[in-house]
Structures are given as structure tokens and as C-alpha cells.
Symmetry: C2
């Protein structure tokens, strides 16, 4: 009997040992960032995460302080040939046009409805603001959320022939998950409209609405015949771009991020603010270098300009992702380029 | 040998059985709200939490939608004889006075420094705004955070002879924990300054800064000799009171709460907004009825007025907490009244 017991114990210990070995082997093989090619960018991310999560390590950062902020357009999803929200605005304008016969002869509606973007952009910020307010204000917040959600169901990108929600970058989706698995709180800090992005943030990025910071218009709480509503007013409240990004982060989060991700000059101040933190941190630029699988642009682009971003990144030693060489795939679907 | 094995198995199963029985008995006895007396208010809270967390129940609410919003002054901690933040402002004014000899002869500083609150309040909102801006603006957000934190270390309430951070209501601290244990996200939605409350929210309420919504002044991101700072400007950005509360909730969270807690007319719109939700929800007013252990006030009070709150609560069937009879203790320390 004693022998049997000893054998049982031995067997149990052996199983445990091999079990553990197998688990370790699996862990060693498991790659949380499979769409990232091996190289400097991937190492910078993995090394940073290891450093701030290693208990008793010199760079350990407690969980509540693990704040990571991501720009949206051009960093988490495609921003070319123009911001998705602008495409939504034009589509919305067309949908509303029958109720506004006067738009036919009135700028900037006339140019926008005719698809004459050149004339529209020539009108500058004032023209664009008018288009935005006509399509984003004048309804309740609940109604707007529904309008945006409905639009995203059917709207498709012409070049990639897929819904805009499928134009999120697979490597960045993996990065979001990887950070969350390591107890980071992931935020979107977008120059785009806060409620526009919130309408899809949970579905596309697994980011709840309260972790989206963005540009906003003023709202007004009102009693609509005994039913309280929050009305969207045609007046700008806050522009979450440039200086606005660190200001928005301070207002909404009240804590400095330890990781920030951007792709253009509009994200520069957010990266500077993150870089000025005393704790170990990661600043990363996504550089669009892949004309075949996505787009290639920087200084000369109409959207996502990098007049200062790349210079500053080099100067400060920030990580610059070269999409062409650093990413093994761009999107999650089977074919990247159709 | 076989007998021994059988006995071993029997012993193991017996231990397991008695172990489980003991655990169930403990669970049945465990009261998550020990400072709440049995009664309508406590039942309303417990029944609500059970209903929205019961998987497959008709009122089940998924975890990400379990948003609970709490007013701070008078709901989570004492607001009499005046808001803690105002006491901070007066103390701060005194600390700054040596650098401002001109204040001696200049209103509203003269009255404030002389402790002549009657003259000060007679000057209305303009006087108060001047005091607030002189004490809350003109420094970086990091500096302000430090100033507030330092003040809270030594400042004490005269009547209760304890730091203001120890004037949080024990029953409400238990309620916050109880909701969080049931996967609620707990928010403070205060008429007070967002960064003032954030300085102590984690320590006092276990609520991180990003879950504090409050009134704010404008800020400006600036490069201070190569070091980026966020400066606090002497201009109001947002008043998170009355209509502002649901507007702030929509802006910061983007989701309607299913539980809201207030104590005055400033919280009314937040409760109305919560009450208008289609999912099961809880609206609760803390009614100050205990002059001996805390304060008793409603319609006639200078702070925490209830001109409409109580009427609306009755009309809509909201839960009204009677502090005197519903709470077995007010504060966490040994003696409630000294």
C-alpha cells in the first residue's frame, strides 16, 4: 500500500511537472501581437508593458495609473481619403435634403450636395462647421446615437468595399487587447465628435462610451412634455485636437497617460504631455507608409499631417511604426487589398 | 486498502459538505449594508440590486450599463454649515493674503478675510466667483492638486473635530462598496470643482479621478520652458449643477445611469434623467433629519435646498432616506457626535 501511495504521489507530481512545463511552453509561444512583425516597434511595446507590470521592478506602475490614450482617425482606423465622420455628414445631408429645398441654391449646402468638395473646402472652416452643425445638431442625444448607428450598418468604404467599422487596424486591435490584458484602461482621444465615435466604440474597439474623449457641441437638458431629453445645440463646446487633447485628457481622466498613440500633428501635444510624465511611458506614432495595402502620406497630406510629428518623434526617441514593414496585416478580414 | 480509500473519499466529501454548509450560512448572515437599519430604504436598495444583477431575471442589466451616479455635498459627505470647498477657498485666501496687501481694502477680499460672510454673501455670485477664481486658478493642474491634498491633511471641521475626509457618511460608503461588488461603476457627479473632489476621491470613496464629474474652469496646455503644463484659467468652463448634471453625465459617460443619489434641488434633473430610463432603476434622496448626529434641514436651508426635491420624490415614488431612522450610524469613527 505504501508503495502504491508513493507511486500515486509520484504520478501526481509528474503530471503537475509536465503540465506546468507544457503551460510555460504555451505561454512562451503565445504572441499577443501576432500581426506585428518582429522588430524595434514591437519590442518597444512589449518591453514597456513588461517593465510597468513587473511587480517589484523599478518601473512598476500600479494598475489604476495604467492609462493609455489612442487617437482614432489614422491611428486606430483609416482616415483617408477623408475622415469617416465627414463622409457621414455628407450622407446625412443628402438624407435631409428633401426636407430643405432651399439648400439647392444655398452655400455650402449646394456644393456639398453636388459633391463639389473643392468648392466646399475652399469655403474653409466656416463652410465645414455649417455642414457639421446641420447634420450633428438639432436632435436629442439618443436620436443622434441611433442615426449614427444606423448609418454605420450600411455605409461602405469604396476602395476596400467593406463597412467603415471593418477598417480598424488589426495590429492596433491586438495592441488594445494586449494593454487591457495587462490592466491598462484604454481611451480613445479623438479630434472627431465624441458621440459619433461612442456610437461604435464598444462594437469596434471594445471601449465603453465613458472611455471616449472627443470634440463636442453644447447640449441642453430639457423637459419635452414630461419626458426629459438632452438636446444637441448648434454650438461648439470643445475641440479635442492639438492643445485640446491634453486639456481633454486632464478634464475627463484627471490623470496623465503612461502610453499615448497618435499619427499626426493633432496628436503631438498629447504625446508631449505623456512624454513629460515622470513614470516610465511609451509614446508611439503610426506612420502611414503602405500605399498598396492602405495609404502612404505624411507632410503633404490633406488629413493626418505630420509637419512636426516625425521630427519630434526622432528628437525625443519616440517609437515610429512603419506600417509597411511593422505590420504583417492591416485589417482583420481575409484580404487586405481588393 | 480499498476500505482506506473509501474512508478517505468519504472524509473528503464530508469536509466538502460541511465546508459548503458553513459558507452558505456565512453568506446568509453577511450584511453588505450594516449601517442601514432594516426598513423601506434599505429594502429598496437591496431589491433593486438583486433585480438588475439576477441573470435571466426580467430586470437584468448587463455589467457595462450598471452606472450609478452620486452627488457629493450632502449626499456622500457633510455640506453644512457650508460646502467644504468654500472653507478651502477662505483658508487659501488667508494663505495668499500676505502676497496681496491690496486685498485688505478691496472687496470681496476684505469681507472674506475678515470672516464677514454676511457681507460676502450679500455681494452675490459675483463676489463668490471672484473668491473662487483667486484661489482656484492661476496655477498648473498638478500644483492645484497638491495644494488641495495638503489642505485636507490638516484642515478640520469645528463641530465634529475631525478632518473633512472623515465626514463621509458610513452608510453611503457601504452603499458604494455594495454597488461595486455588484459590478456597478460608481461616479461622483458634483456641483463642486472637479479637480477639488478628485484630489480626495480615491482616498475617501475609492473612486478614481476619471469617475468624478464636476464643475470646471477653463484650462490651457502650454509649454513652460520645454516642460508642458496645463494651466488653470480664471474663467468658468462648466457648471455641473441642476440641468448641468444630466448634461455632464451625457458628456462624460455617454450612458444614462440606472441609479442616482442626491439630496437637493441641484440633483433633481439628474434624478429625473435617471428616472426616465427604460431599464429598471433606482432614484434616491438623502433627507437630512438628524440634528443631533448631523444636521436637519430642507426647504429653508442656505445650502442643500429641497424646494422641489421632496415633492417630486413623493410624486414619482423615489426612495427618500430619513437619516435619523434609516441610518444606525452617520460616520465611520467611534463617536458620531462629540
Amino acid at each position: 500500500m505504501r508503495l502504491r501511495i508513493r507511486l500515486t504521489v509520484l504520478f501526481a507530481l509528474t503530471s503537475l511537472f509536465f503540465g506546468l512545463t507544457q503551460t510555460s511552453a504555451l505561454a512562451a509561444k503565445f504572441d499577443p501581437l501576432p500581426s506585428w512583425n518582429e522588430g524595434k516597434s514591437k519590442s518597444a511595446i512589449v518591453d514597456f508593458v513588461k517593465a510597468v507590470t513587473e511587480k517589484d521592478g523599478k518601473d512598476f506602475v500600479p494598475e489604476p495609473e495604467r492609462i493609455a490614450t489612442f487617437d482614432n482617425d489614422g491611428t486606430l482606423w483609416v482616415e483617408q481619403p477623408m475622415y469617416t465622420q465627414l463622409i457621414f455628414a455628407f450622407d446625412r445631408l443628402k438624407a435631409l435634403a428633401p426636407q430643405h429645398p432651399e439648400w439647392k441654391d444655398q452655400e455650402p449646402y449646394k456644393s456639398a450636395l453636388a459633391g463639389d468638395l473643392k468648392a466646399l473646402f475652399a469655403g474653409g472652416d466656416k463652410y465645414l462647421a455649417t455642414i457639421m452643425m446641420s447634420t450633428h445638431a438639432g436632435m436629442s442625444s439618443t436620436e443622434f446615437d441611433q442615426i449614427v448607428k444606423t448609418w454605420f450598418v450600411t455605409a461602405e468604404d469604396g476602395r476596400f468595399e467593406r463597412p467603415y467599422t471593418k477598417l480598424a487596424y488589426q495590429p492596433m486591435l491586438e495592441l488594445l487587447s494586449y494593454l487591457r490584458d495587462n490592466k491598462f484602461k484604454t481611451y480613445i482621444v479623438t479630434g472627431g465628435g465624441i458621440e459619433f465615435v461612442r456610437a461604435i466604440s464598444e462594437r469596434v474597439y471594445d471601449i465603453p462610451p465613458e472611455q471616449v474623449i472627443g470634440s463636442s457641441i453644447k447640449t441642453k437638458f430639457e423637459d419635452d412634455n414630461g419626458k426629459p431629453v438632452i438636446l444637441r445645440l448648434a454650438a461648439i463646446d470643445f475641440i479635442d485636437d492639438g492643445n485640446g487633447k491634453p486639456e481633454g485628457i486632464e478634464k475627463f481622466i484627471g490623470r496623465r497617460p503612461i502610453a499615448a498613440f497618435g499619427n499626426s500633428d493633432g496628436d503631438l501635444e498629447m504625446l508631449q504631455w505623456t512624454d513629460a510624465g515622470v513614470k516610465k511611458h511609451l509614446c508611439l506614432y503610426v506612420h502611414h507608409t503602405d500605399a498598396l495595402r492602405e495609404y502612404a502620406y505624411d507632410r503633404d497630406s490633406k488629413v493626418g499631417r505630420l509637419d512636426h510629428g516625425l521630427d519630434q518623434a526622432k528628437q525625443h526617441g519616440w517609437t515610429v511604426v512603419d506600417m509597411k514593414s511593422d505590420w504583417s496585416r492591416i485589417f482583420s478580414a481575409e484580404s487586405d487589398h481588393r
